[in-house]
Amino acid sequence: MNPWEESLREALRRKDVPPGFTNRVLARIRELPVREKRPWFRFRAFIARPALRWAAAVLCLAIAGSVAYREQQQRQRQQGELARMQVKQALHIASVKLNAARKMVREVNRGTAQSRL
């Protein structure tokens, strides 16, 4: 073993942690500036609250429900208007044809049709 190898082995030898190392590291961490004080981290902490998440979910559901209800109402209104127009058209045709048939019968009864032939 040459001296270079001997020095490398010495450098890589496992050493025990000196007493109080953990406490010193933790103390240093506490002394560091608190990142969560920044606005973005404060906002993230705010929205991470479970109550707020539930409230947001309920609000989203309410908005989606409201939109769906309004769309359904609008669709029903369109169907109703269409049905109304169809009713008027159908009754008009029925009325016209009914009166046309009656008119034909009246003419026949008067004998006008026969005389014209």
Partner: protein, 201 residues
């Protein structure tokens, strides 16, 4: 004891059959349906230059009645109030012969007695016009269960089927209302056919 049980059983059976018979008789006009099958006319849509196809069942009539709030709609609303369906098929053709008498006969064959009775039938041999009005009344002859109108002209075919208690007089008076003029008021219109073409029935 056995003979008594037998009598009771026979009595119950007789009651059941009488009830069934009465039930059958009280069904609308001996089981015939006031709603006509007019699907066979759908094939005419391809040949027709103008088509009016209205299919309104009970639920659509109810929906429509909710939106009939105008003053003009009041009379129409009164007519459709108790109706169960309104079905109209009207075709206008470019030339005579685009529909066959068999198309009309398929409808007419459904309008058989005793359920249906023809109250009006007018035919003009001269210009080939034919108008028929049929009514279906309840077995007791009281209330109207349905109405059918068939108007066949050389270039026009109209079939109207109204299901439910329809007031014919009110329906007749509807023409000229709802913003639509009476036919008689359109004397100068080119579509109006000359009076001389009306012929004997």
């Amino acid at each position: 004891m056995n003979a008594r049980n037998k009598k009771i059983r026979i009595g119950a059976l007789a009651t059941f059959f009488v009830a069934m018979l009465l039930g059958t008789l009280s069904m609308p006009a001996f089981g015939q349906n006031p709603r006509l099958d007019i699907k066979n006319l759908e094939a005419l849509s391809k040949k027709a230059s103008e088509v009016v196809d209205v299919n309104l069942d009970g639920s659509l009539l109810k929906l429509a009645s909710k939106f009939m709030t105008d003053e003009d709609d009041r009379e129409a609303l009164g007519i459709i109030k108790n109706l169960k369906g309104v079905y109209v098929k009207s075709f206008t053709f470019e030339k005579p012969g685009d529909y066959s008498p068999a198309d009309v006969e398929a409808i007419r064959s459904q309008l058989q007695a005793p359920a249906w009775s023809r109250i009006v039938s007018a035919r003009s041999k001269h210009d080939g016009e034919n108008a028929e009005i049929y009514l279906m009344t309840a077995a007791d002859g009281g209330s109207v269960l349905g109405m059918a109108i068939i108007c066949a002209e050389p270039t026009e075919l109209t079939v109207v089927n109204i299901v439910g208690p329809v007031d014919i007089d009110k329906l007749s008076q509807l023409e000229g209302k709802m913003g639509i003029p009476r036919l008689g008021e359109q004397t100068d219109e080119p579509r109006q056919k000359p009076e001389g073409h009306r012929a004997k029935p």
